[in-house]
Symmetry: C2
Subunit: 330 residues, 2 copies
Protein backbone atom coordinates (compact mmCIF):
# COMPACT_ATOMS: atom_id res chain seq x y z
CA UNK A 1 0.00 0.00 0.00
CA UNK A 2 1.22 3.47 -0.85
CA UNK A 3 2.22 5.61 2.09
CA UNK A 4 -0.08 8.53 2.85
CA UNK A 5 1.28 11.91 1.77
CA UNK A 6 0.76 15.42 3.05
CA UNK A 7 -1.63 15.88 0.10
CA UNK A 8 -3.88 13.17 1.51
CA UNK A 9 -3.97 14.98 4.84
CA UNK A 10 -4.79 18.29 3.15
CA UNK A 11 -7.58 16.73 1.08
CA UNK A 12 -9.07 14.91 4.07
CA UNK A 13 -8.94 18.00 6.28
CA UNK A 14 -10.09 20.23 3.41
CA UNK A 15 -7.27 22.74 3.90
CA UNK A 16 -4.17 23.67 1.89
CA UNK A 17 -0.91 21.73 2.01
CA UNK A 18 0.78 24.80 3.48
CA UNK A 19 -1.73 24.85 6.31
CA UNK A 20 -1.10 21.17 7.07
CA UNK A 21 2.62 21.72 7.03
CA UNK A 22 2.50 24.66 9.41
CA UNK A 23 0.14 22.98 11.84
CA UNK A 24 2.03 19.68 11.91
CA UNK A 25 5.29 21.56 12.44
CA UNK A 26 3.83 23.35 15.45
CA UNK A 27 3.73 26.68 13.66
CA UNK A 28 -0.04 26.82 13.34
CA UNK A 29 -0.80 29.29 16.12
CA UNK A 30 -2.64 31.58 13.71
CA UNK A 31 -5.18 28.89 12.79
CA UNK A 32 -8.31 28.16 14.82
CA UNK A 33 -8.33 25.28 17.27
CA UNK A 34 -11.00 23.62 15.08
CA UNK A 35 -8.73 23.72 12.02
CA UNK A 36 -5.80 22.41 13.98
CA UNK A 37 -7.87 19.57 15.42
CA UNK A 38 -9.15 18.73 11.93
CA UNK A 39 -5.60 18.51 10.59
CA UNK A 40 -4.39 16.29 13.42
CA UNK A 41 -7.44 14.04 13.01
CA UNK A 42 -6.87 13.85 9.26
CA UNK A 43 -3.22 12.96 9.82
CA UNK A 44 -4.20 10.06 12.07
CA UNK A 45 -7.06 9.00 9.79
CA UNK A 46 -4.87 8.65 6.71
CA UNK A 47 -1.85 7.41 8.64
CA UNK A 48 0.47 10.16 7.49
CA UNK A 49 3.96 10.25 8.97
CA UNK A 50 6.25 13.12 8.01
CA UNK A 51 9.34 11.93 6.23
CA UNK A 52 11.73 11.82 9.14
CA UNK A 53 14.71 12.56 6.97
CA UNK A 54 13.10 15.52 5.30
CA UNK A 55 12.05 16.83 8.65
CA UNK A 56 15.36 16.35 10.37
CA UNK A 57 17.07 18.32 7.62
CA UNK A 58 15.23 21.34 8.88
CA UNK A 59 15.19 20.79 12.59
CA UNK A 60 17.40 18.09 13.89
CA UNK A 61 17.25 19.01 17.52
CA UNK A 62 19.49 16.29 18.90
CA UNK A 63 23.03 15.04 18.49
CA UNK A 64 23.50 11.46 17.42
CA UNK A 65 26.44 9.55 18.88
CA UNK A 66 27.33 5.89 18.48
CA UNK A 67 29.02 3.18 20.52
CA UNK A 68 30.52 -0.03 19.13
CA UNK A 69 31.11 -3.02 21.41
CA UNK A 70 32.30 -6.53 20.51
CA UNK A 71 29.10 -8.22 21.74
CA UNK A 72 26.19 -7.48 24.04
CA UNK A 73 26.26 -11.00 25.40
CA UNK A 74 29.18 -10.35 27.77
CA UNK A 75 27.99 -8.41 30.80
CA UNK A 76 31.04 -6.14 30.84
CA UNK A 77 29.95 -4.55 27.56
CA UNK A 78 26.29 -4.51 28.60
CA UNK A 79 27.29 -2.61 31.72
CA UNK A 80 29.41 -0.15 29.70
CA UNK A 81 26.58 0.63 27.28
CA UNK A 82 23.96 0.87 30.01
CA UNK A 83 26.22 3.26 31.90
CA UNK A 84 26.54 5.47 28.80
CA UNK A 85 22.75 5.49 28.45
CA UNK A 86 22.27 6.41 32.08
CA UNK A 87 24.60 9.42 31.69
CA UNK A 88 23.36 10.62 28.29
CA UNK A 89 22.59 14.36 28.08
CA UNK A 90 18.96 15.03 27.22
CA UNK A 91 19.51 16.20 23.65
CA UNK A 92 21.83 13.33 22.72
CA UNK A 93 20.69 10.07 21.13
CA UNK A 94 22.81 6.91 21.34
CA UNK A 95 22.99 4.28 18.62
CA UNK A 96 24.46 0.96 19.80
CA UNK A 97 26.28 -1.32 17.38
CA UNK A 98 28.19 -4.54 17.92
CA UNK A 99 31.05 -6.14 16.04
CA UNK A 100 34.77 -6.92 16.17
CA UNK A 101 37.59 -6.05 13.75
CA UNK A 102 36.24 -5.82 10.16
CA UNK A 103 32.66 -5.73 11.47
CA UNK A 104 33.61 -2.89 13.82
CA UNK A 105 35.11 -0.89 10.93
CA UNK A 106 31.85 -1.41 9.01
CA UNK A 107 29.83 -0.31 12.03
CA UNK A 108 31.79 2.96 11.95
CA UNK A 109 30.77 3.47 8.30
CA UNK A 110 27.13 2.84 9.16
CA UNK A 111 27.22 5.36 12.00
CA UNK A 112 28.85 7.97 9.73
CA UNK A 113 26.09 7.40 7.17
CA UNK A 114 23.49 7.84 9.89
CA UNK A 115 24.98 11.26 10.67
CA UNK A 116 26.74 10.50 13.97
CA UNK A 117 28.69 13.43 15.43
CA UNK A 118 30.90 11.14 17.49
CA UNK A 119 31.64 7.47 18.11
CA UNK A 120 32.95 5.61 21.16
CA UNK A 121 34.76 2.48 20.02
CA UNK A 122 35.13 -0.28 22.59
CA UNK A 123 35.80 -3.00 19.99
CA UNK A 124 39.13 -3.79 18.44
CA UNK A 125 39.23 -2.23 14.96
CA UNK A 126 40.76 -3.97 11.96
CA UNK A 127 42.35 -0.75 10.69
CA UNK A 128 42.39 1.68 13.59
CA UNK A 129 44.68 4.28 11.98
CA UNK A 130 42.61 4.46 8.79
CA UNK A 131 39.34 4.73 10.70
CA UNK A 132 40.75 7.42 12.98
CA UNK A 133 42.12 9.47 10.08
CA UNK A 134 38.88 9.24 8.13
CA UNK A 135 36.78 10.34 11.09
CA UNK A 136 39.17 13.17 11.86
CA UNK A 137 38.99 14.47 8.29
CA UNK A 138 35.23 14.41 8.50
CA UNK A 139 35.22 16.16 11.87
CA UNK A 140 33.54 13.27 13.63
CA UNK A 141 34.70 12.80 17.22
CA UNK A 142 36.22 9.43 18.16
CA UNK A 143 37.07 7.95 21.56
CA UNK A 144 38.71 4.55 21.84
CA UNK A 145 39.00 2.24 24.84
CA UNK A 146 41.19 -0.18 22.84
CA UNK A 147 43.93 0.50 20.28
CA UNK A 148 45.10 3.39 22.39
CA UNK A 149 48.81 2.76 22.08
CA UNK A 150 49.60 4.38 18.75
CA UNK A 151 46.38 6.09 17.83
CA UNK A 152 47.15 9.79 17.72
CA UNK A 153 43.95 10.82 15.93
CA UNK A 154 41.50 9.70 18.63
CA UNK A 155 40.92 10.49 22.27
CA UNK A 156 41.48 7.49 24.50
CA UNK A 157 40.07 6.22 27.80
CA UNK A 158 41.35 2.94 29.13
CA UNK A 159 41.98 0.87 32.23
CA UNK A 160 45.53 0.30 33.36
CA UNK A 161 45.66 -3.20 31.98
CA UNK A 162 49.36 -3.65 32.72
CA UNK A 163 48.72 -2.68 36.31
CA UNK A 164 45.92 -5.26 36.39
CA UNK A 165 48.11 -8.07 35.15
CA UNK A 166 50.75 -7.14 37.68
CA UNK A 167 48.27 -6.98 40.60
CA UNK A 168 46.95 -10.45 39.72
CA UNK A 169 50.51 -11.82 39.63
CA UNK A 170 51.53 -10.13 42.89
CA UNK A 171 48.47 -11.51 44.64
CA UNK A 172 49.30 -15.09 43.64
CA UNK A 173 53.00 -14.63 44.46
CA UNK A 174 52.09 -13.34 47.93
CA UNK A 175 49.93 -16.43 48.46
CA UNK A 176 52.89 -18.66 47.68
CA UNK A 177 51.83 -20.04 44.29
CA UNK A 178 54.88 -21.24 42.34
CA UNK A 179 53.27 -22.82 39.32
CA UNK A 180 50.47 -20.97 37.57
CA UNK A 181 48.43 -21.08 34.40
CA UNK A 182 47.54 -18.10 32.21
CA UNK A 183 44.21 -18.65 30.49
CA UNK A 184 43.59 -16.35 27.57
CA UNK A 185 42.16 -15.63 24.23
CA UNK A 186 43.94 -17.02 21.21
CA UNK A 187 43.64 -13.81 19.23
CA UNK A 188 44.82 -11.10 21.55
CA UNK A 189 43.49 -7.56 21.47
CA UNK A 190 45.78 -4.80 22.70
CA UNK A 191 44.22 -4.72 26.16
CA UNK A 192 44.45 -8.48 26.63
CA UNK A 193 48.06 -8.43 25.48
CA UNK A 194 48.92 -5.84 28.14
CA UNK A 195 47.24 -7.91 30.85
CA UNK A 196 48.98 -11.11 29.80
CA UNK A 197 52.41 -9.55 29.29
CA UNK A 198 52.61 -7.78 32.61
CA UNK A 199 51.31 -10.89 34.39
CA UNK A 200 54.05 -13.00 32.81
CA UNK A 201 56.78 -10.38 33.41
CA UNK A 202 55.89 -10.06 37.08
CA UNK A 203 55.83 -13.84 37.50
CA UNK A 204 59.14 -14.22 35.68
CA UNK A 205 60.81 -11.69 37.97
CA UNK A 206 59.56 -13.69 40.96
CA UNK A 207 60.77 -16.96 39.46
CA UNK A 208 57.26 -18.41 39.08
CA UNK A 209 56.63 -20.76 36.18
CA UNK A 210 53.73 -19.71 33.90
CA UNK A 211 52.20 -22.10 31.39
CA UNK A 212 49.73 -20.74 28.88
CA UNK A 213 46.45 -22.27 27.75
CA UNK A 214 44.86 -20.62 24.75
CA UNK A 215 41.07 -20.53 24.49
CA UNK A 216 38.72 -20.09 21.57
CA UNK A 217 37.40 -16.77 22.89
CA UNK A 218 36.59 -15.09 26.20
CA UNK A 219 33.32 -16.91 26.94
CA UNK A 220 32.25 -19.10 29.84
CA UNK A 221 32.12 -22.00 27.37
CA UNK A 222 35.79 -21.48 26.51
CA UNK A 223 36.71 -21.37 30.19
CA UNK A 224 34.83 -24.57 30.85
CA UNK A 225 36.56 -26.27 27.92
CA UNK A 226 39.93 -25.39 29.43
CA UNK A 227 39.25 -27.07 32.77
CA UNK A 228 40.80 -30.40 31.82
CA UNK A 229 43.98 -28.72 30.60
CA UNK A 230 44.21 -26.73 33.84
CA UNK A 231 43.63 -29.85 35.94
CA UNK A 232 46.55 -31.72 34.37
CA UNK A 233 48.89 -28.71 34.36
CA UNK A 234 50.03 -29.20 37.97
CA UNK A 235 49.44 -25.48 38.51
CA UNK A 236 48.08 -24.36 41.87
CA UNK A 237 46.50 -21.21 40.44
CA UNK A 238 45.04 -19.85 37.21
CA UNK A 239 44.70 -16.27 35.94
CA UNK A 240 41.89 -15.88 33.39
CA UNK A 241 41.89 -12.75 31.22
CA UNK A 242 38.25 -11.99 32.02
CA UNK A 243 35.59 -13.01 34.55
CA UNK A 244 33.54 -15.08 32.13
CA UNK A 245 36.53 -17.31 31.36
CA UNK A 246 37.18 -17.63 35.11
CA UNK A 247 33.57 -18.55 35.87
CA UNK A 248 33.54 -21.09 33.05
CA UNK A 249 36.79 -22.56 34.34
CA UNK A 250 35.44 -22.93 37.88
CA UNK A 251 32.29 -24.66 36.66
CA UNK A 252 34.35 -26.93 34.39
CA UNK A 253 36.65 -27.86 37.27
CA UNK A 254 33.58 -28.67 39.40
CA UNK A 255 32.50 -31.22 36.79
CA UNK A 256 35.93 -32.87 37.28
CA UNK A 257 35.36 -32.74 41.04
CA UNK A 258 38.04 -30.14 41.48
CA UNK A 259 37.17 -27.52 44.04
CA UNK A 260 38.10 -23.84 43.98
CA UNK A 261 40.11 -22.65 45.89
CA UNK A 262 40.95 -25.92 47.68
CA UNK A 263 42.39 -27.67 44.63
CA UNK A 264 43.25 -24.63 42.54
CA UNK A 265 42.94 -20.84 42.96
CA UNK A 266 41.35 -18.75 40.20
CA UNK A 267 41.70 -15.01 39.46
CA UNK A 268 39.56 -13.17 36.90
CA UNK A 269 39.56 -9.72 35.31
CA UNK A 270 36.77 -7.07 35.02
CA UNK A 271 34.82 -7.50 38.26
CA UNK A 272 31.50 -7.78 36.44
CA UNK A 273 28.53 -8.15 38.77
CA UNK A 274 28.70 -11.92 38.50
CA UNK A 275 32.13 -11.99 40.15
CA UNK A 276 30.70 -10.87 43.47
CA UNK A 277 27.63 -13.10 43.27
CA UNK A 278 29.41 -16.25 42.12
CA UNK A 279 30.02 -19.19 44.46
CA UNK A 280 32.83 -18.96 45.45
CA UNK A 281 33.07 -15.20 45.15
CA UNK A 282 35.64 -14.49 42.43
CA UNK A 283 38.97 -12.81 43.20
CA UNK A 284 39.37 -10.45 40.25
CA UNK A 285 40.83 -7.21 38.91
CA UNK A 286 38.20 -4.49 39.17
CA UNK A 287 37.70 -2.20 36.18
CA UNK A 288 35.70 0.93 36.95
CA UNK A 289 33.30 0.46 34.05
CA UNK A 290 30.97 3.33 34.94
CA UNK A 291 33.92 5.76 35.23
CA UNK A 292 35.29 4.47 31.92
CA UNK A 293 31.90 5.03 30.26
CA UNK A 294 31.36 8.47 31.81
CA UNK A 295 34.84 9.66 30.89
CA UNK A 296 34.49 8.35 27.32
CA UNK A 297 31.22 10.23 26.99
CA UNK A 298 32.72 13.43 28.44
CA UNK A 299 35.69 13.30 26.07
CA UNK A 300 33.40 12.68 23.12
CA UNK A 301 31.04 15.56 23.93
CA UNK A 302 34.00 17.91 24.51
CA UNK A 303 35.47 16.95 21.13
CA UNK A 304 32.11 17.47 19.40
CA UNK A 305 31.90 20.89 21.04
CA UNK A 306 35.43 21.91 20.05
CA UNK A 307 36.95 19.75 17.37
CA UNK A 308 40.31 21.54 17.49
CA UNK A 309 41.14 20.90 21.15
CA UNK A 310 44.29 18.96 22.06
CA UNK A 311 44.09 15.16 22.18
CA UNK A 312 42.99 13.79 25.54
CA UNK A 313 43.80 10.43 26.99
CA UNK A 314 43.44 8.99 30.43
CA UNK A 315 44.41 5.73 32.07
CA UNK A 316 42.13 4.67 34.89
CA UNK A 317 43.35 2.72 37.91
CA UNK A 318 42.30 -0.86 38.56
CA UNK A 319 42.18 -2.71 41.90
CA UNK A 320 42.53 -6.30 42.95
CA UNK A 321 39.38 -7.45 44.73
CA UNK A 322 40.14 -10.41 46.93
CA UNK A 323 37.28 -12.86 47.38
CA UNK A 324 37.00 -16.59 48.05
CA UNK A 325 38.34 -18.11 44.80
CA UNK A 326 42.02 -17.79 45.79
CA UNK A 327 43.79 -19.14 48.88
CA UNK A 328 47.21 -18.84 50.42
CA UNK A 329 49.47 -21.91 50.27
CA UNK A 330 51.56 -20.65 53.16
CA UNK B 1 34.71 25.69 12.97
CA UNK B 2 32.32 25.74 10.05
CA UNK B 3 31.74 22.37 8.43
CA UNK B 4 33.15 21.99 4.93
CA UNK B 5 30.56 22.21 2.15
CA UNK B 6 30.38 20.72 -1.31
CA UNK B 7 31.41 24.17 -2.58
CA UNK B 8 34.71 23.87 -0.72
CA UNK B 9 35.34 20.52 -2.39
CA UNK B 10 34.53 21.94 -5.83
CA UNK B 11 36.79 24.95 -5.29
CA UNK B 12 39.69 22.82 -4.00
CA UNK B 13 39.38 20.30 -6.84
CA UNK B 14 38.76 23.09 -9.37
CA UNK B 15 35.65 21.45 -10.82
CA UNK B 16 31.95 22.31 -10.74
CA UNK B 17 29.65 21.41 -7.85
CA UNK B 18 27.69 19.14 -10.19
CA UNK B 19 30.88 17.23 -10.97
CA UNK B 20 31.66 16.76 -7.29
CA UNK B 21 28.13 15.61 -6.60
CA UNK B 22 28.17 13.01 -9.37
CA UNK B 23 31.59 11.67 -8.49
CA UNK B 24 30.91 11.44 -4.75
CA UNK B 25 27.60 9.70 -5.48
CA UNK B 26 29.34 7.06 -7.60
CA UNK B 27 27.85 8.39 -10.82
CA UNK B 28 31.07 9.82 -12.18
CA UNK B 29 31.93 7.12 -14.73
CA UNK B 30 32.11 9.68 -17.52
CA UNK B 31 34.87 11.65 -15.80
CA UNK B 32 38.56 10.81 -16.09
CA UNK B 33 40.26 8.87 -13.32
CA UNK B 34 42.42 11.93 -12.67
CA UNK B 35 39.35 14.12 -12.09
CA UNK B 36 37.76 11.52 -9.85
CA UNK B 37 40.93 11.16 -7.80
CA UNK B 38 41.19 14.95 -7.50
CA UNK B 39 37.64 15.17 -6.15
CA UNK B 40 38.14 12.39 -3.59
CA UNK B 41 41.40 13.99 -2.47
CA UNK B 42 39.72 17.37 -2.19
CA UNK B 43 36.92 15.84 -0.15
CA UNK B 44 39.41 14.37 2.32
CA UNK B 45 41.54 17.53 2.35
CA UNK B 46 38.67 19.82 3.33
CA UNK B 47 36.99 17.18 5.52
CA UNK B 48 33.70 17.26 3.66
CA UNK B 49 31.04 14.77 4.72
CA UNK B 50 27.81 14.66 2.72
CA UNK B 51 24.81 15.57 4.80
CA UNK B 52 23.64 12.12 5.76
CA UNK B 53 20.03 13.18 5.95
CA UNK B 54 20.04 14.91 2.60
CA UNK B 55 21.66 11.90 1.04
CA UNK B 56 19.37 9.35 2.60
CA UNK B 57 16.39 11.25 1.23
CA UNK B 58 17.55 10.30 -2.22
CA UNK B 59 18.98 6.87 -1.68
CA UNK B 60 18.33 5.24 1.60
CA UNK B 61 19.40 1.76 0.71
CA UNK B 62 18.64 0.07 4.03
CA UNK B 63 15.69 -0.43 6.33
CA UNK B 64 15.99 0.86 9.87
CA UNK B 65 14.37 -1.16 12.63
CA UNK B 66 14.50 -0.64 16.38
CA UNK B 67 14.43 -2.74 19.51
CA UNK B 68 13.59 -1.50 23.01
CA UNK B 69 14.65 -3.51 26.06
CA UNK B 70 14.33 -2.61 29.77
CA UNK B 71 18.11 -2.63 30.36
CA UNK B 72 21.24 -4.04 28.77
CA UNK B 73 22.63 -4.97 32.17
CA UNK B 74 20.56 -8.13 32.50
CA UNK B 75 22.02 -10.90 30.34
CA UNK B 76 18.60 -12.09 29.14
CA UNK B 77 18.09 -8.83 27.25
CA UNK B 78 21.71 -8.73 26.07
CA UNK B 79 21.23 -12.21 24.63
CA UNK B 80 17.95 -11.19 22.94
CA UNK B 81 19.51 -8.14 21.27
CA UNK B 82 22.67 -10.00 20.26
CA UNK B 83 20.52 -12.73 18.72
CA UNK B 84 18.59 -10.13 16.68
CA UNK B 85 21.89 -8.69 15.47
CA UNK B 86 23.21 -12.10 14.48
CA UNK B 87 20.10 -12.75 12.36
CA UNK B 88 19.78 -9.30 10.78
CA UNK B 89 19.31 -9.32 6.98
CA UNK B 90 22.11 -7.51 5.18
CA UNK B 91 20.13 -4.41 4.20
CA UNK B 92 18.61 -3.89 7.64
CA UNK B 93 20.08 -1.68 10.35
CA UNK B 94 19.18 -2.13 14.02
CA UNK B 95 18.92 0.70 16.53
CA UNK B 96 18.98 -0.47 20.15
CA UNK B 97 17.24 1.55 22.87
CA UNK B 98 16.64 0.84 26.53
CA UNK B 99 13.94 1.96 28.92
CA UNK B 100 10.86 0.82 30.82
CA UNK B 101 7.29 2.22 30.84
CA UNK B 102 7.32 5.99 30.14
CA UNK B 103 10.94 5.78 28.97
CA UNK B 104 9.99 2.96 26.60
CA UNK B 105 7.12 5.04 25.14
CA UNK B 106 9.62 7.87 24.57
CA UNK B 107 12.07 5.47 22.93
CA UNK B 108 9.31 4.60 20.45
CA UNK B 109 8.93 8.30 19.57
CA UNK B 110 12.65 8.64 19.06
CA UNK B 111 12.73 5.62 16.73
CA UNK B 112 9.78 6.99 14.74
CA UNK B 113 11.63 10.30 14.37
CA UNK B 114 14.69 8.43 13.15
CA UNK B 115 12.59 6.86 10.41
CA UNK B 116 12.26 3.30 11.73
CA UNK B 117 10.10 1.00 9.60
CA UNK B 118 9.43 -1.34 12.50
CA UNK B 119 10.04 -1.71 16.24
CA UNK B 120 10.39 -4.78 18.46
CA UNK B 121 9.32 -3.88 21.98
CA UNK B 122 10.61 -6.11 24.75
CA UNK B 123 9.98 -3.54 27.49
CA UNK B 124 6.72 -2.96 29.28
CA UNK B 125 5.08 0.15 27.78
CA UNK B 126 3.27 2.74 29.87
CA UNK B 127 0.47 3.11 27.29
CA UNK B 128 0.64 0.06 25.05
CA UNK B 129 -2.71 0.62 23.28
CA UNK B 130 -1.90 4.24 22.39
CA UNK B 131 1.57 3.36 21.15
CA UNK B 132 0.23 0.46 19.06
CA UNK B 133 -2.52 2.58 17.51
CA UNK B 134 -0.15 5.40 16.68
CA UNK B 135 2.36 3.09 15.02
CA UNK B 136 -0.40 1.32 13.10
CA UNK B 137 -1.76 4.63 11.77
CA UNK B 138 1.72 5.54 10.65
CA UNK B 139 2.28 2.15 9.03
CA UNK B 140 5.21 1.30 11.25
CA UNK B 141 5.44 -2.38 12.13
CA UNK B 142 5.35 -3.34 15.82
CA UNK B 143 6.09 -6.64 17.54
CA UNK B 144 5.71 -7.00 21.29
CA UNK B 145 7.06 -9.65 23.63
CA UNK B 146 5.17 -8.15 26.57
CA UNK B 147 1.72 -6.59 26.75
CA UNK B 148 0.47 -9.25 24.41
CA UNK B 149 -2.78 -10.01 26.18
CA UNK B 150 -5.03 -7.29 24.84
CA UNK B 151 -2.93 -5.65 22.19
CA UNK B 152 -4.74 -6.20 18.92
CA UNK B 153 -2.71 -3.67 16.92
CA UNK B 154 0.66 -5.38 17.24
CA UNK B 155 2.10 -8.75 16.36
CA UNK B 156 3.19 -10.70 19.42
CA UNK B 157 5.86 -13.26 20.22
CA UNK B 158 6.09 -14.53 23.76
CA UNK B 159 7.12 -17.41 25.97
CA UNK B 160 4.44 -19.48 27.64
CA UNK B 161 4.93 -17.79 30.99
CA UNK B 162 1.94 -19.54 32.59
CA UNK B 163 3.38 -22.89 31.52
CA UNK B 164 6.69 -21.82 33.08
CA UNK B 165 5.15 -20.96 36.42
CA UNK B 166 3.29 -24.27 36.41
CA UNK B 167 6.40 -26.31 35.54
CA UNK B 168 8.33 -24.68 38.38
CA UNK B 169 5.51 -25.50 40.81
CA UNK B 170 5.10 -29.08 39.60
CA UNK B 171 8.84 -29.68 39.97
CA UNK B 172 8.82 -28.56 43.60
CA UNK B 173 5.61 -30.48 44.33
CA UNK B 174 7.15 -33.66 42.87
CA UNK B 175 10.16 -33.15 45.13
CA UNK B 176 7.89 -33.05 48.17
CA UNK B 177 8.19 -29.37 49.09
CA UNK B 178 5.20 -28.27 51.15
CA UNK B 179 6.15 -24.76 52.12
CA UNK B 180 7.57 -22.50 49.44
CA UNK B 181 8.44 -18.87 48.84
CA UNK B 182 7.69 -16.86 45.71
CA UNK B 183 10.31 -14.19 45.17
CA UNK B 184 9.29 -11.50 42.73
CA UNK B 185 9.31 -7.98 41.53
CA UNK B 186 7.19 -5.47 43.37
CA UNK B 187 5.86 -3.86 40.20
CA UNK B 188 4.72 -6.74 38.03
CA UNK B 189 4.85 -6.69 34.27
CA UNK B 190 2.38 -8.87 32.40
CA UNK B 191 4.86 -11.69 31.89
CA UNK B 192 5.89 -11.76 35.53
CA UNK B 193 2.27 -11.73 36.60
CA UNK B 194 1.56 -14.82 34.47
CA UNK B 195 4.55 -16.66 35.95
CA UNK B 196 3.57 -15.80 39.50
CA UNK B 197 -0.15 -16.50 39.09
CA UNK B 198 0.20 -19.92 37.53
CA UNK B 199 2.85 -20.87 40.10
CA UNK B 200 0.51 -19.94 42.93
CA UNK B 201 -2.53 -21.60 41.32
CA UNK B 202 -0.67 -24.86 40.79
CA UNK B 203 0.62 -24.81 44.35
CA UNK B 204 -2.82 -24.00 45.72
CA UNK B 205 -4.35 -26.96 43.89
CA UNK B 206 -1.70 -29.21 45.43
CA UNK B 207 -2.32 -27.77 48.88
CA UNK B 208 1.15 -26.22 49.16
CA UNK B 209 1.52 -23.01 51.13
CA UNK B 210 3.09 -20.11 49.21
CA UNK B 211 4.38 -17.02 50.95
CA UNK B 212 5.45 -14.06 48.84
CA UNK B 213 8.49 -11.83 49.23
CA UNK B 214 8.52 -8.70 47.13
CA UNK B 215 11.82 -7.34 45.85
CA UNK B 216 12.89 -3.91 44.64
CA UNK B 217 13.53 -5.18 41.11
CA UNK B 218 14.80 -8.28 39.32
CA UNK B 219 18.51 -7.82 40.01
CA UNK B 220 21.04 -9.98 41.80
CA UNK B 221 21.23 -7.26 44.47
CA UNK B 222 17.49 -7.59 45.12
CA UNK B 223 17.79 -11.37 45.34
CA UNK B 224 20.62 -11.07 47.83
CA UNK B 225 18.64 -8.61 49.92
CA UNK B 226 15.79 -11.13 50.19
CA UNK B 227 17.98 -13.90 51.62
CA UNK B 228 17.24 -13.08 55.25
CA UNK B 229 13.49 -13.07 54.64
CA UNK B 230 13.73 -16.43 52.87
CA UNK B 231 15.83 -17.91 55.68
CA UNK B 232 13.25 -17.05 58.35
CA UNK B 233 10.25 -18.08 56.24
CA UNK B 234 10.48 -21.80 57.12
CA UNK B 235 10.10 -22.57 53.41
CA UNK B 236 12.08 -25.48 51.98
CA UNK B 237 12.12 -24.02 48.45
CA UNK B 238 12.02 -20.67 46.66
CA UNK B 239 10.88 -19.77 43.14
CA UNK B 240 12.50 -16.57 41.85
CA UNK B 241 10.91 -14.86 38.84
CA UNK B 242 14.22 -14.65 36.99
CA UNK B 243 17.71 -16.15 37.17
CA UNK B 244 19.40 -13.01 38.43
CA UNK B 245 17.11 -12.89 41.47
CA UNK B 246 17.80 -16.60 42.05
CA UNK B 247 21.57 -16.16 41.79
CA UNK B 248 21.44 -13.19 44.15
CA UNK B 249 19.36 -15.19 46.60
CA UNK B 250 21.79 -18.13 46.59
CA UNK B 251 24.76 -15.84 47.21
CA UNK B 252 22.84 -14.03 49.98
CA UNK B 253 21.96 -17.34 51.63
CA UNK B 254 25.63 -18.36 51.47
CA UNK B 255 26.54 -15.28 53.50
CA UNK B 256 24.09 -16.55 56.15
CA UNK B 257 25.75 -19.99 55.92
CA UNK B 258 22.68 -21.49 54.30
CA UNK B 259 23.52 -23.97 51.59
CA UNK B 260 21.58 -24.58 48.39
CA UNK B 261 20.01 -27.12 47.90
CA UNK B 262 20.79 -28.70 51.31
CA UNK B 263 19.04 -26.03 53.37
CA UNK B 264 16.71 -24.65 50.71
CA UNK B 265 16.00 -25.40 47.05
CA UNK B 266 15.97 -22.54 44.51
CA UNK B 267 14.32 -22.38 41.06
CA UNK B 268 14.92 -19.52 38.61
CA UNK B 269 13.40 -18.40 35.30
CA UNK B 270 15.06 -17.62 31.92
CA UNK B 271 17.96 -20.07 31.75
CA UNK B 272 20.46 -17.33 30.96
CA UNK B 273 23.97 -18.62 30.40
CA UNK B 274 24.85 -17.98 34.03
CA UNK B 275 22.30 -20.56 35.21
CA UNK B 276 24.31 -23.43 33.73
CA UNK B 277 27.65 -22.06 34.90
CA UNK B 278 26.61 -21.12 38.41
CA UNK B 279 27.66 -23.20 41.42
CA UNK B 280 25.38 -24.99 42.11
CA UNK B 281 23.94 -25.22 38.62
CA UNK B 282 20.57 -23.46 38.71
CA UNK B 283 17.34 -25.36 38.17
CA UNK B 284 15.33 -22.96 36.02
CA UNK B 285 12.64 -22.49 33.38
CA UNK B 286 14.30 -22.28 29.98
CA UNK B 287 13.14 -19.55 27.60
CA UNK B 288 14.25 -20.06 24.01
CA UNK B 289 15.64 -16.54 23.65
CA UNK B 290 17.17 -17.02 20.21
CA UNK B 291 13.89 -18.44 18.84
CA UNK B 292 12.00 -15.56 20.45
CA UNK B 293 14.35 -13.05 18.82
CA UNK B 294 14.32 -14.75 15.40
CA UNK B 295 10.54 -15.04 15.36
CA UNK B 296 10.12 -11.41 16.44
CA UNK B 297 12.41 -10.34 13.61
CA UNK B 298 10.56 -12.52 11.08
CA UNK B 299 7.17 -11.14 12.12
CA UNK B 300 8.50 -7.58 11.92
CA UNK B 301 10.03 -8.00 8.45
CA UNK B 302 6.84 -9.68 7.17
CA UNK B 303 4.75 -6.80 8.49
CA UNK B 304 7.08 -4.23 6.92
CA UNK B 305 6.76 -6.11 3.62
CA UNK B 306 2.99 -6.33 3.76
CA UNK B 307 1.39 -4.00 6.24
CA UNK B 308 -2.13 -5.32 5.62
CA UNK B 309 -1.52 -8.95 6.55
CA UNK B 310 -3.50 -10.51 9.40
CA UNK B 311 -2.17 -10.13 12.94
CA UNK B 312 0.31 -12.82 13.94
CA UNK B 313 1.01 -14.09 17.40
CA UNK B 314 2.84 -17.09 18.70
CA UNK B 315 3.45 -18.54 22.13
CA UNK B 316 6.72 -20.43 22.45
CA UNK B 317 7.14 -23.43 24.75
CA UNK B 318 9.34 -23.32 27.81
CA UNK B 319 11.04 -26.24 29.59
CA UNK B 320 12.12 -26.92 33.12
CA UNK B 321 15.88 -27.54 33.25
CA UNK B 322 16.73 -29.52 36.35
CA UNK B 323 20.18 -28.82 37.77
CA UNK B 324 21.74 -28.95 41.23
CA UNK B 325 19.95 -26.09 43.03
CA UNK B 326 16.86 -28.14 43.92
CA UNK B 327 16.62 -31.44 45.80
CA UNK B 328 13.92 -33.96 46.62
CA UNK B 329 12.75 -34.14 50.22
CA UNK B 330 11.39 -37.66 49.73
Amino acid sequence: MKKASIKDVARTADVSIATVSQILNNKGERFSQATRDRVFEARDAVGYVPNANARSLKKRDYTLIGVIVPTLKLPYFGAFVQSLRDDLPENVSLSIMSGEREAADEAVDRLVEAGASGIIIVSQLAEPETVAQTLKQRHIAMVVTENHANLKDADAVFSKDRMGGRLAAEHLIAQGHERVVLLGNQVFTDNLTYRAESFKETMLEAGVKVSEITTHNLSKQSGQAAAMAVSISKATAAFALNDDLAIGLISGLAKLNWRVPDDVSVVGFDDTEYAAFYQPGLTTVHQNVSLLAQTSLNFLMQRIENFQMARQDIAIDVDLIERASTRSLK
